[in-house]
Symmetry: C2
């Protein structure tokens, strides 16, 4: 006989922590740091605050194969209102991320998962201090009760906020393996800093090394905005929910205008004609057949304007170029921004860059792929990412030959990045996204090939010029001796050749 | 100001259905079929029933870019007890899979997710009919209420079970794209049939084609058994739960013997000496410091016997060999079973096969990887799977040259397969698993190289022999003419050469 059991959301994720990126001590340490860091960045950027984030990791003990660390993270973000602090951090599936908006946080469970992981591995409670900048600072010490999915308070204090401090501090203990995770953690900060020059990031590692990524731009990017769902992005379940939550005497036309992104009064009228539903039909009078017809029409009508991409917050070509140049000092850099597009009703933008030479890592001819989604660098599971698949395909058709390593940077900004797992490491292959990535990469590769061809042609010309310089003089001298005439000046001739092959006068021919 | 919200488990998975494999109509159709099929197989095999499973997919409607299908699946498994039917299928995180045992189902949510996906995309309720073989057959028509995570009954009936029928039938509607998913679905059944010759599987596809995989072995494999947790597989949270759930007057020695796999009375005594805890300490007297010490000792003590692998249900080399031969008719096949091992307290076994030539797909020199976990074929996300990574590495060092395509089959059986996502497609790289996969592959590749060398050497010998046969006769004749002697019989000489190069008499030399 089978035993049937019910799990709380905490218990489910606790048992399956691997799917959220907590698979071994090294990876778990990396995941915990990035999840909390991303929450901090969101708490700043979504509120137009220039981020100042301090992360400190200290080794406090050892077990047989792993180590125990204390992780401290402080931000100057919006802070969490008192009534939400415990639930936001001590209860699974309770979050401020459950709105339609571009943000680093996606599933609204990374922060709580990190704290739960710490609790599972060390048994110690979490300390959180937060203030929204009002008159009070609140401090809680708590654990998560896995079975009931509820926070369990150990202590609770409030302080007067004399200096109007605003932000959140979290401190907790967790098992980890810094020596193994170090490369990923440092890379993560380095690659984040490369695209967020408006952030001030300080990381103190367990060896006492300070990694400081100072702010270089004093301007926050345009924060992403919340939107209503686009008609092409809904499903039948959501449509029914939206109808249920509206007053039953509301007309279907009013309902459409109120509930959907990009549906104005005239669009609604045109659409309802297409759907063969009378605009003044009351919501209460919609039966299952009519709702089904409404749904089919909503998802198939092509008269809706594409979702507005103004609500997204891309990196921007200038910032991308500057950041990559700062971190990698390449010889050549090229950037491209694709026009906004959408998949299943979710707006997105692809930005990309190609850099060559300088401090780009790898061997001659290598192409390293750097992936970003909503400004998060993605370091694991490259092999199953859509960008990787596209790049592998393009490598076949472009056959880049290069004497130095190359790097391609891809950033996808969207209200909903189709991550393959809760660990947020690989992006699924939505056809529309795949297409935009391919077009961006094609442009970059074509431009690079042209550039290389110019460089190679110039090098070839220099070589030829060197030969001409060497022999033309001799020929001229021989010719003079043969004819008994004066020596010919070959300088104008060489200049002509130089200009033909576009070699500047200053280029040394040896 | 941020909005904070709480989601029910249903709502969470509904919003993030991509992470469970429901990312587009084709993939979702594939996922729904496999999740329900795997539940059916588990319902048979875990109860030593020879599986007879019928799956029928019919197209019933069309939308702009997708189609609506009716999916019917019937098994002769254990059936679901009446009181659990609605929760098991209509409530997320309610399942019979939350025990420690090898089974296809892992997360206990695939079935409910499939039905929810159908409901989201078509708005239609699900019909389920089930009986455990007792006097009644129960039928429910229901939907899942996403916000409350509760089943919502539409109709409910019971019939007298005259013929003692036992099993479960599920019928529901869902959006899909069969033309695109077809290749995956057929492959999935084909690859499953290859390793489960004791199952009878019938799939009727929307084109009316019948795919029948008949049973060829009338013996169910040894069913996997449930176990208690191994001391090396627990975390602090679980230890505390186990202590809380035991009577406080129980001694710590009794507790260890009762709660853990592989801990007998004498092991418990030896261990407690190592942990410096008195065996007769009452559970009620364990404070946080002692529990922490107990935990650290449990995970670090190396005197525990490795988890028992008898509770696993591998495919078996014979079945693997027979199944692959049946489906691919290779020229050469080799199998290997690694000794049982464990990672983080979870027992596992790696089985592998290498097949060459015959109907193995691909080009000469290609190595196709077929991955299985707990008898499920894994068809997506190969690039981030541990087997793929190991194989790519080994390809570098072995440099297999082959005139025909090769295939490598890898099966991992475990009480807990470390899947990277809820979609169960890629396996994470636990070092112990990676090691066993590598050793299995190395054995197969070495054996194959030896085989190829023998084949090539033999071919070379045949070539040489052909030359000898051609010229030795001539030489003998010339020698005779020169010496004026009788012709020499070269047959014994040729036989000697044949035997030296191990070419059978029957081998044609041209």
């Amino acid at each position: 006989m089978e035993e049937y059991k019910e799990l709380s959301p905490s218990e489910f994720f606790y048992r399956n922590k691997e799917i959220a990126g907590f698979s071994n001590p090294a990876r778990s340490l990396y995941t915990a740091i990035r999840e909390l860091f991303e929450n901090s960045m969101d708490a700043c950027e979504l509120n137009e605050i220039l981020p100042e984030i301090v992360i400190s990791l200290r080794k406090v003990g050892e077990r047989q194969k792993t180590e125990i660390y204390r992780l401290y993270i402080q931000d100057n973000g919006s802070g969490i209102p008192k009534k939400h602090i415990l639930n936001a951090l001590g209860k699974m599936l309770f979050s401020s991320k459950y709105v339609i908006r571009q943000s680093r946080g996606t599933f609204g469970l990374g922060g709580t998962m990190s704290l739960l992981y710490g609790q599972i591995t060390t048994g110690k409670p979490v300390k959180v201090v937060s203030s929204t900048g009002n008159s009070q600072i609140h401090q809680y010490v708590f654990k998560i009760d896995v079975r009931s999915n509820q926070p369990k308070i150990y202590s609770e204090k409030s302080y007067r906020n004399y200096r109007k401090w605003r932000g959140t501090i979290i401190e907790f203990y967790l098992e980890g393996n810094y020596p193994k995770a170090m490369r990923y953690i440092i890379n993560y900060f380095k690659l984040t800093a490369a695209i967020t020059p408006h952030a001030d990031i300080l990381f103190l590692d367990p060896y006492g090394t300070m990694y400081y990524f100072p702010r270089t731009i004093n301007k926050t990017p345009q924060p992403p905005k919340k939107i209503k769902p686009h008609p092409h992005g809904i499903d039948l379940e959501l449509l029914k929910t939206l109808i249920e939550r509206s007053p039953s005497h509301m007309t279907v036309k009013e309902f459409l205008v109120k509930s959907f992104h990009r549906v104005g009064s005239s669009t609604a009228v045109k659409f309802l004609k297409y759907a063969k539903i009378r605009p003044d039909t009351k919501l209460g009078d919609l039966d299952d057949t009519l709702i089904d017809r409404l749904y089919t029409a909503l998802t198939s009508y092509d008269g809706f304007i594409a979702p507005n991409s103004d609500i997204l917050s891309p990196i921007g070509e200038d910032v991308l170029r500057e950041g990559i140049t700062k971190e990698f000092r390449p010889e050549y850099i090229d950037t491209v921004t694709r026009p906004p597009s959408s998949y299943r009703g979710h707006p997105f933008i692809v930005e990309a860059a190609l850099a060559y030479g300088g401090e780009i890592p790898g061997q001659a001819g290598d192409i390293t792929l750097f992936r970003y989604a909503n400004k998060i660098p993605l370091l694991y599971d490259e092999g199953s990412d859509v960008s990787y698949i596209v790049l592998e395909r393009l490598k076949q058709s472009y056959r880049i030959s290069s004497d130095k390593p190359l790097a391609i940077f891809i950033h996808i900004a969207s209200t909903k990045v189709p991550f393959k797992s809760v660990g947020k490491e690989a992006i699924a292959d939505a056809p529309e996204i795949e297409r935009e990535i391919e077009l961006a990469m094609r442009t970059l590769l074509r431009n690079f090939i042209k550039y290389r061809r110019r460089v190679v042609r110039k090098r070839e010309a220099v070589r030829r010029l060197k030969i001409y310089e060497k022999y033309l003089g001799l020929i001229a001298r021989f010719a003079k001796q043969l004819a008994g005439r004066e020596e010919v000046d070959i300088t104008p001739l060489l200049r002509k050749i130089r200009s033909r092959y576009k070699v500047e006068e200053s280029v040394e021919t040896d």
